[in-house]
Structure formats: C-alpha cells, structure tokens
Symmetry: C2
Subunit: 192 residues, 2 copies
Amino acid sequence: MATQDRLIESTQELLWERGYVGTSPKAIQQRAGVGQGSMYHHFTGKPDLAATALRRSAEQMRAIAAADLAAPGTAYDRIAAYLLRDRDVLRGCRIGRMAQDPDVIADPQLRAPVEETFDWLRGRIAELIAEGQAAGELTMGVDPADTAAAVVAVVQGGYVLARAAGRAEPFDQAVRGALGLLAAQRTVDRTA
Amino acid sequence: MATQDRLIESTQELLWERGYVGTSPKAIQQRAGVGQGSMYHHFTGKPDLAATALRRSAEQMRAIAAADLAAPGTAYDRIAAYLLRDRDVLRGCRIGRMAQDPDVIADPQLRAPVEETFDWLRGRIAELIAEGQAAGELTMGVDPADTAAAVVAVVQGGYVLARAAGRAEPFDQAVRGALGLLAAQRTVDRTA
C-alpha cells in the first residue's frame, strides 16, 4: 500500500478506537509505520489527515448503508435490513462516535463528513417510508422525516447502550424495539 | 464550597465537555482553582476522582429522569415527559458520552455508573410500558423491554445526530418520530 494510503487507513482506525482528541500524530505514524517527515510530506498536519480519513470513512459507511437500504422487498424490509445488519456493536459507529469529540464538532472541516452522512441517511430512510406510505404498504400515521430520524437515532443510541453495558444485547434490544414499533405501521400483517 | 466538592464538580464539567481521555489532572486543578497537592490529598488520582464525579453525575441524571417518568398521566404521557424534557441538546448526555471513551469502557470502576444508569432507565420505562399494557392503555403488540431500549436509544442517538448537525433539530425530529410510533400503540386515540 502507498504511504499516503497507509497514513489514511491508520488514522481511520485510530479515530474509530480513540477519537480525535485521543489520537496523536505520533500514534498515527507508529501505526502506519512511517516517519514524521513522510506524514508532513503528504498532509499539512493532523487536522488535514483526519479530515481525509473521516471523508473516506463516511464514504464507506454510506456505501454499506445504501446497500442495506436497497435490499429486496418492501420499505419495511429495507429498513429492517439496515437495522439488522451484522455489526461489530461494541466497536461503535466510526462516524457517530466523532460527534462526541469536541474538537471535531468545533471544526467545520471535520464535522462536515459526519453531518453529511447522517443527513443523507435520514433522507434516504425518510424517502423509503414515504414510498411505503404512497404504495399503501405503511399507514399514513407517522411523519417520514421524524420516523427516519428516530430509526437512525436508535442505531446510534444502541451503540451507546451496548458500550455502556459491555455487551451487544442492549443494541439488539433497541433494534428489536424499533422494528416492533415500525411493524405496527404496516397495513398488512406479514407475520402470518 | 469545600475543596473536595470543587474538584468533583470541575471534573463532572470537564468529563461532560472533553471526555475522560481529554481531561487532564492539570485542567481539573485549574478549573477547581486548587493545587496538585490538594487534589492528591483528597483523591488517589484522576481515575479515583473521575469515578466519584461519574457516580455523582449518574445520580443527578437518574433523579431528573425519575421525576419525568413520575409525571402525571398515563404511561404514554410519562414517557413523553421524559422524551420532551427541555435539554441543552448540543451539550449531549453527560453519561452517554462516556460510553464513547475507550478508557472509561475499559475500566470497570468508571463504566459501572454508566451501565447502571442505563440499566435502571431501561428498566423503569419497560415497567411503565408493561403497566400501560396491563391497564389496557397500550396494545400488547410490543415487547416492553425492547421498546424501552429503543426509547432510551432514541434520546442517546438524538444527541449524536444533533451534535453532528451542529443544531438541536435532528434530536427533536428523532423524539417526535419515537412519540409518533408510540402514539400508535395507544388503544384510545387521545389526540381528539
């Protein structure tokens, strides 16, 4: 792998594990196995490298979520595919965890990929819910944008509950809870 | 205020703002306006002081949530009181944000108050939902424990979405979404 890519990948991993505040330029260089001079040859500094790494993580997360939400079946099935995807729950979300980092939130360059990823995700799920309502698959009883925000929040909050508990179960519970509430919005009972 | 209390309060604030990894003993001493010797007179070190501060934050959060969940009205009303409480959304949750901190999660002493707070909160909301179902106020269509986990996750994930966006609106959307889904579980339409 090229030096530049090794630096970006190492930064992606460290940001996921330790956050921005907890990731030093030295730790990045050590994980990438490159010297200080090489890092500053490719990037102006930690903010520049972190912004590049975050943009790449955001693209990867978006591609995975887009595939889930394009699964076969109804709007409910697609949202279920997103919610039930196999996850390394205790690792948390590589994008969501950035929102806790005060230095990320304070820097427009670093916050942008985090904001854009969630904007896109909420918009895509809202679209699916609106399509399901228009097709008569889902009741008109809920607001698509609000419901989509709740679905995305359940996943992000599920990570928080699981990490707090040191086990994946609370994440799975939250997802089952969201699916139970969403299932009640279906106009036809498909459990039979 | 006594020196010991000043140290605890300053640590509570800094943990909320900067997390555990981002809070240095020096920053705590500066905010509390006490010297290093005084800090180490009262506490063995940062982990000891942080554990005390986190236990106090957990007690405070629990007291506030318990009051919301004892609001007048039905189970739905009480959960709505919890979800709709006026919050400084962009500050995030003082307990939930700790779950992103790898050093908190790795230390049983630091993780315990975080885990216990969410266990209690999920349990209390599950109890309310089960009571609402037993009283015929809510349908039997959802599992109380799973639904409670989803409710708590919506709040924690709502903070993530709001901080990512740099504005409170995505939190409010997620909460409205959860309330819309919960409202559909009521056996009697109270919106009329």
